[in-house]
């Protein structure tokens, strides 16, 4: 039994490489999309605001699984064929980018108008005000919501199993079918719990670091 657990764990760990790749690609690029989207939304350029509102409305209002199917099975109909990983990464980046756009926009808008005025009368320009005064304070405020999304992403990443990507969950399922044992699912659950716990710890440390000033 012990040997079997080690064996299957190794197999599932291999699958989790895809999960990790997807996780980090999505985390990095969706945060970038979110920052750009949030700055666009507060830009007071009406056309840009409308486009971004449409974007967040669609991607937050439809199932991620539908978006994933659309990218993998739907786009080929239109003549665009993507491999499973690029299709998954693209979908996740755009989907999570929409959530981060709204989270970061809310964070920026929660910063008191007086901060902008103080920066302005001290001679700071828009870029200096945003990068030195507004964004650093926003980071602290959006940490809890960002932490939630970071954990959701761990769990959502399992959806890619349905388009045939050999991720953590798919490896477990393959092992279950092959060995007719429930153990691989339990091991997969433990893996997910470990990953989530690490993420929670990282964010708790970050929140502690930022709590010095309040």
């Amino acid at each position: 039994m012990f040997d079997y657990i080690i064996n299957v764990s190794g197999y599932i760990l291999e699958g989790s490489i895809v999960t990790f790749q997807l996780y980090f690609v999505t985390a990095i690029f969706s945060v970038i999309v979110g920052i750009a989207g949030a700055l666009g939304k507060i830009s007071k350029i009406p056309l840009l605001e409308s486009i971004l509102s449409l974007y967040t409305w669609i991607f937050r209002g439809t199932p991620l699984l539908l978006q994933l199917f659309f990218a993998y099975y739907g786009l080929p109909v239109l003549g665009i064929t993507l491999q499973p990983f690029p299709a998954a990464a693209l979908t996740f980046i755009i989907n999570y980018g929409a959530y981060f756009t709204e989270i970061f926009r809310g964070g920026i808008e929660s910063i008191d108008e007086g901060q902008y005025e103080a920066a302005k009368v001290l001679g700071m320009n828009y870029r200096q005000t945003m990068s030195r005064i507004v964004i650093p304070q926003t980071v602290k405020r959006v940490l809890p919501a960002t932490s939630n999304e970071a954990i959701n992403l761990v769990k959502d990443s399992a959806l890619v199993a349905v388009i045939g990507l050999g991720d953590l969950l798919r490896s477990a399922k393959v092992a279950v079918t092959r060995d007719f044992s429930i153990v691989p699912f339990i091991i997969a659950a433990v893996f997910y719990l470990i990953i989530s716990s690490v993420i929670v710890t990282v964010f708790r440390k970050l929140e502690e670091k930022y709590s010095v000033y309040e």
Binding site: V121, R132, I133, Q137, Y213
Partner: protein
């Protein structure tokens, strides 16, 4: 030093400044008093570019605001009723931010200057504290020091003591009083009539978007020329 000619400012339909004109000389301390909604804050905010005026001319140290925009504002600092300190920076960080980022001063120089200013406002021991750890009076003294760190020729104060507990008002007024003695040009919107009377060279009384009286404090407080001012003073003095 400051010259304002026929300033008008509307918020939509509402006319808030209705032809304000005045001049302020180097080293003068001016108190601006008047009822709520008369346009005092709007006037200060217009002087430093936080509000755009609809018409009129404004010169700061001879520089036309219309022609050179931002450059004219560089000579001014402003202190707000709500402090508006940067909560994520220490006291020292608040003071050093603009000199380093805007003026490109060397950190060591900015730090030395900031420490001198903190000493002046009596807060040397708080330099590593964050704003949230300070009392209201301490916050406002930091805000004053932060404005001074940019070495302005003119300081604008918008009700600097109005959000403070009564026992903390004195320490802030003392700092402003010291500045008046150093001959920094100042415009102070205040409801502290005793203070206005003591420190100002002149008092502007504003009502309905106009300066309806521009005179020495003795005159306005001892012998107000209009019914309107008299009733305002009676009301406000009975509150204190």
């Amino acid at each position: 030093m400051i010259k304002a000619k026929d300033i008008y400012k509307n918020f939509g339909e509402l006319e808030v400044l209705s032809g304000v004109s005045f001049e302020v000389q180097q080293g003068e301390a001016i108190s601006i008093i008047g009822p709520s909604g008369s346009g005092k804050s709007t006037l200060l905010r217009s002087l430093i570019g936080l509000e755009e005026i609809n018409s009129g001319e404004l010169y700061i140290e001879g520089i036309s605001v219309k022609e050179s925009g931002k450059k004219a504002y560089e000579k001014m600092g402003m202190v707000f009723q709500g402090f508006n300190l940067f909560p994520h920076k220490t006291v020292l960080g608040n003071l050093m931010e603009a000199p380093v980022i805007v003026k490109g001063e060397k950190k060591a120089k900015a730090e030395a200057k900031s420490e001198t200013l903190l000493k002046k406002v009596g807060l040397s021991d708080k330099k590593d504290s964050y704003p949230a750890q300070l009392s209201g009076g301490q916050k406002q003294r930091v805000a004053i020091a932060r404005a001074l760190a940019m070495e302005p020729d003119i300081m604008l104060f918008d009700e600097p003591t109005s959000s403070l507990d009564p026992e903390l008002v004195g320490e802030v007024l003392t700092v402003i009083r010291d500045l008046a003695e150093e001959n920094i040009t100042m415009l102070i919107v205040t409801h502290e009539m005793g203070f206005a009377r003591d420190v100002s060279d002149r008092v502007f009384f504003m009502d309905h978007g106009k300066i309806i009286s521009d005179t020495v404090p003795e005159k306005i407080f001892v012998n107000p020329e209009s019914e309107r001012i008299q009733s305002f003073l009676t009301k406000i003095l009975s509150q204190n």
